[in-house]
Symmetry: C2
Subunit: 172 residues, 2 copies
Amino acid sequence: MDGRGTAGLLYLREEEIRLAMELLFYGYRDFTAGPDAILAELDMGRAHHRVLYFVGRHPGITVSELLGILRITKQSLGRVLQPLIAGGYVVQSRGRSDRRQRLLSLTPAGEALERRLFESQRALLARAFRDAGGPAVEGFRKVMLGLLGPEARARLGLRVAAAGAPVAGKVA
Amino acid sequence: MDGRGTAGLLYLREEEIRLAMELLFYGYRDFTAGPDAILAELDMGRAHHRVLYFVGRHPGITVSELLGILRITKQSLGRVLQPLIAGGYVVQSRGRSDRRQRLLSLTPAGEALERRLFESQRALLARAFRDAGGPAVEGFRKVMLGLLGPEARARLGLRVAAAGAPVAGKVA
DNA sequence: GGATTACGTCAGTATCGTTGACATATCAAC
DNA sequence: GTTGATATGTCAACGATACTGACGTAATCC
């Protein structure tokens, strides 16, 4: 390969990388716009949404586990968790095996709010999936999985693999 | 279709959607970790990175255009832009056709810093792309494009289409 | 010459993150 | 059963990033 050819390939490659960066920036920005609008009416923010989401996904999750997922300090969590509890969206219960733990779950009101936020994003994602098509969705998952650190990859890797073969017997 | 079958499909679909949501959450979190660490040493944050990135991408960009991309107020931009100018990373020049405009560009120091931040993310993205493979990358772009609002889609849509056919004559 | 536009800035506020320190309850172990 | 570690909560101070509202200046447009 000569100098010009190599430079050309590097240029294309950099453009591809920058395109992906911008897709992630704009995509994340626009993907969170729906919930943000709903939350603003309730005097809540994105941090509340994240708590609602992961508590909903993992009923009975401990505070420590939640802190690990969100990667924030317990002080930061406290500031959003306490209003969610006071507002009747989240309940705490003591761990039966370890009574030091406060296991978190959503109340019916919490589930309703989480679902409302979810549906707003679901509509957007479902349309994007439909427009892009099945193989594209699989590619999306593969690339996104590659961006994750080891901890998140361990958490989601199996699910990505399973989603890649949604029907028993389908070729992976 | 009977009730059970429909419920099953809806369940799978919701799991798929939630998986994508979590991939976006963890992916964005882990993708920004590299630059965040570099920026912290320079007493800067993600907001400074975004300015460096888009000014680098669009040399001579006006303040208004930058505000439109970032979707922030001029007051918020001012707080990060002024230190970048004072630190010698960004320069302003008056517009030749419209002297009210302040056209923004990176200095060599700004380009060097932007490149350093870029390379940290490039390494991660390039590995994810390589591991996922070309068709997956194309799918990734398609899905992400579908998440964008009209304004961002107009900005990136053509580039996504071009990236889907990187070599002249290749089938789209 | 008057309205609009592009930009800057001052003042105040909100959200979400941080560090550091300290308290309490519980568990685990010797 | 004291002792040390763990799980959680909380007080205080701080920092980054966003916001609104108001005002000022310079340049352009008509």
